[in-house]
Symmetry: C2
Subunit: 289 residues, 2 copies
């Protein structure tokens, strides 16, 4: 072997080393993983448990805005499938194009979505003048998501009902990931309280601080609990119902899944932290012109 | 040179190549940059122009929720400085801790923030029973941000007034980056319209579709324009004023910066796309217990 050959091969290898270095760096030009970042923690946590984030949605002036800001939160969560269920007889172009665009903006590899639709029967629809609590909302849509999950997934995960107008701290998703059956956490700005929450003693739920219909078996807002998907598969008949009184959807579903509040798993530092808020967006005053 | 030496060096170089490859990949384990993603586009765009995102904020039940979801949007924008100005006589612990936490969750290298505070004088404060438009809001806070910018930055950039309750599409930030003087774009759900926007002819602004106080020289919402920071430095006396009639803050500032609407630069596909919405969050009904 000649020295020139050796030199040529060495130069080639050195070039490869540097090229590789810069090509790879080009792929992540401005991304840092600080040791203390939540995102870094996410990647170290048990991200094998996928989160199935179920969002019923319906056409209204603020719809695109609501979904836009919610999508920015969800983009920052790893291993999540966003299940959007439209209240309409067909998938709208607005939501179809929105989801296609968002899914291309992924931060983590596995941002996935499922786009479903089912129309609330006419007799159950709220008219524009009705107060928004008069009739059940999102019942058919959340049920459609549960049906889809049972028929189309075997993957383990956590099921969460995340409406398009609420606000979610990124830490909430990590809190819910290791739910064995049903986990619970405080919800801000709901039921007339700054925070509605389970009361904890010795690490167990012993009651709730709810003042709105406190006699419900599970006086919890829809955004205050998460369910292990295994339970959804096991109790394959568990669904929401349009025939229960106002405020009883959560209790109706949970009583089909577990027997008592002893089975609830308190999260968010023994239910001391607020990581989800029941925010509501004003209907804008639009003039007819 | 012996053949064994050559072999040793070759093996060393190969090892270095692979080590380098894996070490670098370890640094960005779950981040992908699809060719079509907005984030990829961001990194290719002129990100040298920093965005100074000015947010006046005040203590209220929904404050933390509003700032939380806004922060998720801003985390996805490269080269941005978030200037939060509290309406209070001192920086609150809530916002101080919030900003410290958020700044550690950076996606891009340059997520920066500035935390300021200035209290609105008592005589200009809205009382709880007043309608929220009775007195000017955010005037002292936005002015404090402008003062800070002039005294503390020489870096070129774009100044944008982004309130904590509005909704921002990520594409908005790229639209505003190449503002030469003042750029304008449509705003959704404001002024009684689904979209309030500049009217464009041959690439120039020739008027506005506003129906609310359309006689203003610049009938634009606070979130409908962005300013090159050079102009802020050049016109060093330009400020908002608490003494102008309701709805005239924008016109008051802009008339100090430019002479006519001919100088406005239309963005968002000739002002055809809605990339910012004037969303408002309901005040939650809290019971006294």
């Amino acid at each position: 072997m000649k020295f020139t050959n050796f030199l040529q091969i060495s130069i080639l290898l050195l070039t490869l080393t540097f090229l590789n270095y810069f090509i790879v760096y080009q792929k992540c030009p401005a991304v840092t993983y600080d040791d203390k970042t939540v995102i870094h923690q996410l990647s170290k946590q048990n991200v094998n448990e996928k989160i199935f984030f179920i969002t019923p949605t319906y056409s209204r002036p603020v719809q695109e805005a609501e979904l836009t800001r919610l999508s920015h939160t969800l983009l920052l969560v790893s291993n999540l499938r966003w299940i959007i269920v439209e209240d309409s007889d067909q998938k709208t172009l607005l939501i179809t194009q929105f989801l296609q665009r968002i899914s291309k903006m992924k931060i983590f590899e596995n941002f996935e979505y499922t786009h479903l639709n089912v129309e609330t029967p006419k007799s159950f629809k709220t008219s524009r003048r009705d107060p928004n609590w008069l009739k059940p909302r999102g019942v058919w849509q959340r049920n459609e998501a549960l049906r889809w999950l049972r028929e189309n997934t075997t993957e383990k995960g956590i099921v969460y009902f995340g409406d398009d107008d609420n606000t979610y701290d990124l830490r909430l998703f990590e809190e819910m990931r290791n739910t064995k059956k049903v986990s619970v956490f405080p919800v801000g700005l709901v039921g007339g309280l700054m925070v509605e929450k389970p009361l904890i003693e010795n690490g167990k739920v012993i009651g709730f601080n709810s003042i709105w219909k406190p006699k419900r078996k599970f006086p919890i807002d829809m955004s205050g609990f998460a369910i292990n998907s295994q339970l959804i598969h096991d109790k394959h008949d568990a669904y929401f119902s349009p025939y229960v009184p106002r405020g009883y959807q959560e209790t109706h579903l949970l009583t089909q899944l577990i027997h008592s509040i002893n089975e609830l798993e308190p999260k968010a530092d023994s239910c001391t932290k607020i990581l989800v808020w029941h925010t509501r967006t004003e209907m804008p005053k639009l003039k007819k012109i």
